[in-house]
């Protein structure tokens, strides 16, 4: 279902062999409760989480909205067979690209549903940027799509709004600070390697945000909400940092 992130909560999903991602996820609460692992709990966890909020704030100050992620040449691309799929579930959600629409809600002048044709009619950006997974691996795919900022302007999003929340067809959620959402390399991505996005990679439209960790690049998006409320997200609520700037 969701996103390019740590599906292997225990970090053993693939290297450990037998366990599928889903079974590891199901097991993880038990694994986490096994005392010797020292998963933060109680006071320790609330202290660590408050400190994480401080780091989120610090990251938002370090973030330079005019700094671009390096764009690589064609020869430095990750070969297409190394274009890695990662997400919270094994299988992509049932989604029909032909009937797909994107709902836009919240602090926008023109809320409603938009089609892929609306998005593709906007200026297009193609870029070879590094996708950095929270797990530690990275790759440089070739992405293509509409800068999210262009789309938000078309929909009449309130430029003073603080956050943008995203919901995906697999019930994945995440949210962004508005400066990151408006960054010129933040895409409503519908192409990879000059071809329409494939279903495992988030077809028909996903977010690509090379200024943040991979779990911020939500796949299979179906709703955008412009808001002044920080709505967290699927991984963020479980303990991953919210700002996740890189």
């Amino acid at each position: 279902m969701a996103d390019d992130t740590e599906s292997r909560s225990t970090g053993e999903g693939e290297t450990g062999g037998r366990l599928t991602r889903r079974s590891v996820l199901k097991l993880s609460p038990l694994v986490l409760l096994a005392g010797c692992d020292m998963t933060p709990e109680g006071r320790t966890e609330s202290f660590l989480r408050s400190f994480q909020k401080f780091n989120d704030w610090f990251q938002s100050k370090v973030f330079d909205s005019s700094r671009l992620s390096t764009e690589y040449s064609a020869s430095e691309l990750t070969p297409e067979d190394g274009f890695r799929v990662n997400g919270k579930d094994d299988d992509p959600p049932d989604i029909d690209p032909a009937t797909w629409t994107l709902a836009v809600e919240g602090l926008v002048a023109r809320p409603g549903t938009y089609t892929l044709a609306h998005i593709a009619a906007l200026p297009k950006r193609v870029m070879n940027t590094r996708h950095v997974c929270v797990e530690g691996w990275s790759m440089v795919p070739r992405w293509g799509g509409t800068p999210l900022g262009e789309f938000l302007r078309m929909a009449g999003a309130d430029p003073g709004a603080k956050y943008l929340s995203v919901e995906s067809a697999d019930d994945y959620t995440t949210s962004y600070d508005m400066p990151s959402a408006l960054h010129p390399q933040t895409l409503l991505c519908y192409e990879a390697y000059d071809k329409p996005l494939t279903l495992p990679h988030g077809a028909p439209v996903r977010i690509v945000m090379p200024t943040k960790l991979g779990y911020k690049s939500a796949k299979w998006i179906r709703k955008l909400i412009v808001t002044n409320e920080n709505t967290g997200g699927y991984w963020e609520d479980q303990g991953y940092d919210w700002f996740a700037g890189i």
Binding site: E6, R8, S9, T10, G11, E12, T15, S28, V31, L32, C36, D37, M38, T39, P40, E45, L48, R49, F51, Q52, N55, V62, F63, D64, R67, S69, T70, R130, V132, C133, V134, E135, G136, W137, S138, P210, T211, W235, Q238, G239, Y240, D241, G245, I246
Partner: protein
């Protein structure tokens, strides 16, 4: 050795930063090994009992708390050494120490019988105590390259880009682990009085 005669070995700030650094490095290395396990660089994972945080998100919380402790404490240590000249006089490895390295190695390997003449710290100790803050700087800079590969892209490319910076970050960590092993060995060899001095500042005079 005359009984009761003591010498002042470690100033308060050195003792304090030593133990804060111990805690900071313990947090950084154990949480770092858990982060390593999420996507191992090589064909092996770290045993769970060596890791902190329970899972990747917990380990990241610890790691990005520990980084402040490590950086602020390390900066205080460097500042103190520069301002007080304590380190420059005692532990900084300089050109004149180069010639003393070989005899010290020979002494440790029992090839040479008598301890070569040395000040408070011998050339090998100076080399170790000068390399380790450099490894600390290397850890901090490679860490920044991994935490902010976009915001500090020039720094990341200095270490060969994101993926290579990960390897360097790991190598610096290994440096700490090897230093720690040697350090513990030397502390055991030097004996109790020397060990006590990192808490109290004082040790029994040896002559």
């Amino acid at each position: 050795m005359s009984r009761g005669k003591r010498e002042y070995q470690h100033p308060l700030l050195i003792r304090l930063t030593h133990w804060v650094n111990f805690i900071a490095l313990a947090i950084m290395i154990t949480s770092g090994l858990r982060i390593y396990n999420a996507s191992p660089l090589w064909n092996f994972s770290m045993p769970g009992f060596l890791t902190l945080g329970g899972w990747l998100a917990g380990a990241r919380m610890w790691h990005f708390l520990g980084m402040w402790l490590f950086a602020v404490n390390g900066a205080a240590w460097v500042l103190y050494n520069v301002l007080s000249r304590h380190g420059r006089q005692t532990t900084l490895f300089r050109g004149k120490d180069v010639s003393g390295v070989k005899p010290m190695i020979q002494y440790y390997l029992r090839i040479r019988r008598e301890h070569p003449p040395a000040g408070k710290y011998n050339p090998l100790q100076k080399l170790a105590y000068t390399s380790i803050p450099l490894a600390g700087l290397g850890s901090a800079l490679t860490g920044m390259s991994l935490y902010w590969p976009v915001q500090f892209a020039p720094l990341a490319s200095l270490f060969g880009g994101y993926d290579t910076a990960r390897i360097w970050h790991f190598i610096f960590t290994a440096g700490f682990v090897f230093f720690f092993a040697g350090h513990i060995l030397m502390v055991i060899i030097a004996g109790w009085s020397n060990f006590v001095s990192i808490f109290t500042g004082w040790k029994q005079a040896t002559d």
